[in-house]
Amino acid sequence: MRYLIRRLIWFAVALLGLSLLVFAALRILPGDVASVMAGTNATPARIAAIRSRMGLDRSYPQQYADWLGGLLHGNMGVSAISGRTVASQIGAHAAVTLPLIVLSLLVALGVGIPMGCQAVLAGSPRVRSVLHTIAIVGGAVPALWGGLLLIMLFGRGVGLIGILPSQGFPDAGWHAPRAALISLILPTITTGLVAGAGIMRYTRACLISMEDSDAVAMAMACGMTRRQAMLRVGLRLSAAQLVSVAGLTFAQMITGVMVVESLFNLPGLGAMLINDVGNRDLIAVQSELFLLAAFFLLLGLLVDLMHHALDPRLGEQTQHAGGEGSTHDLGIR
């Protein structure tokens, strides 16, 4: 409980720090923001108009306060280029990216954990080493290249077995759920498999470290077979660690997701962000970057809380984390 409170406080602090970082990064731009936004041939009057419309004529603290206040009310500003509100823009693009992320994660976990277990538990040493090789090489494939290979294999019109669409998202979006889902298959497999290889490697490492543990031996002594003991006790005791790793894999998967969005021509958050950065649409970029980063902070928070919930021993340890008191076996137990 104390951990939860402390973690929440630091989450808030981190959010605040993050907002400052994003704000500052976009203000130390060389040159005048408004003139960049107005374009090269803009009249001074137009630049001034933009400046006042965006609130850029006010002091930095004032601007920061305005932005933060807006965020708190769900008002993230209006894109200078498209004229749409940033909120609606994010919403539209997230409808592609979020399902892609969630599906990829499911694929990654669904492939990574069973195969990682098999890489330890398979009876034949040859199968184990083949699976280990797959885990390492799979994690070394750039998402871009993996996607290309999949297109070359399955892409409609290009691939050897051209059965799946490899470009674009249906215009109707999720109103055409079948088409939308089908268009996400190849992208999902790309990111899911690459991330799955990482999960597989960690699962394997965790289980191997449990192989000689007394806890697994004890479970076997109670009457479990080795396989049962490893899966029920070994995997359970690695779960806390695996959740942490999955969280990190998830965060790092995003580079791949953006690449894949661009490769498969999906109108997702990545495409939006790259586009806005390219257009120097600062008001939009500011809110978008902050929101995305905040999303990952939240994810990290959830992962940590889950990690704690999975390990009953942690509640005790963190109470004197890093303190002198915990550093020695005090001989009082």
Partner: protein, 326 residues
Amino acid sequence: MTSVSDDGKRSKRFGRGGHTTGNVPLRMRFGVIIRSMWHQSVGRFALIVMACWIAVSLLSLFWTPYPLLYTDGGHAWAAPSAAHPLGTDGVGADVLSWLMAGSRTNLVIALLTMLVSAVIGLACTAVMISGRRALASAGVVVVDALIAIPTVLLALLFAVPFGTSISVIVAACGMTYGLNMARIVKPSASLAARSAYVEAARAMGGERVARVFSPISCPRLSPVLAVQLSMSAGTSILAEAGLTYLGVGVPSGVPSWGHTLTTSVRLISVYPLTVLWPGLTVTLVVTALYLLGDTIRDCADPLANVELRKLAAAVGRQTHNTGADA
């Protein structure tokens, strides 16, 4: 590798020669480590790929099949031929030459990322295990929070004010991998910090954090560090490819593997098989880097490598005999 360089420093401090008290001279240790790596098939693979990578990088400084700026206007988007084994890109530049030159950029990126992530990672670890409770727990929570931010968002954030450059990639990768490393190294570091041998050293004098990172316990961390650093290097190559493709990585005009991969995406409609080579190169090198860390961990650690222990024991006996002769 870390432990080796530590030993080097150490033996100098001990007095000349480094032959005292069973200390094995650096060169002998290094020889044994490389030899044991070579005797494992995995290690041999990693060493060969690393050697090729470095050789091609150096070679590309002096020679590539075509100069990088040479464009064959008449042969834009050309399929592979004897003249251009991997074809040409949109302006008729030779893809093979750019791939070769790209290896040196990626080598630089990988090395710098390792350096930056090591500095950030060890600094964060030091804070997290420091004796001051408030500082340590604040460090833990801050790392826990920041670790969730993806590399690509950091790169975008840095790219807005600074534009695209190698430093942006290194900064973004270095920071995320550094935090990652801090979290992974922390358990071993705090184990080391509370371990009896650091305690024993502390009883003889010395600070806690300094002790953990001093040669006393860096050997304890060096296996984890070897694995983590080589992971950072490998992952930085993957990140470079992704970021460059997204337009926030290496600026166009600078050769890199990400650049070549991006080119080959366009080439796919002309001649699909060319896409194999840059991707294979990246996969091979990253695999080798991942494996390199594992084998270094197994071979440079006297606990895991019997040969190192045998060497030390032999040196211990031998020094005495020479001493008796004198």
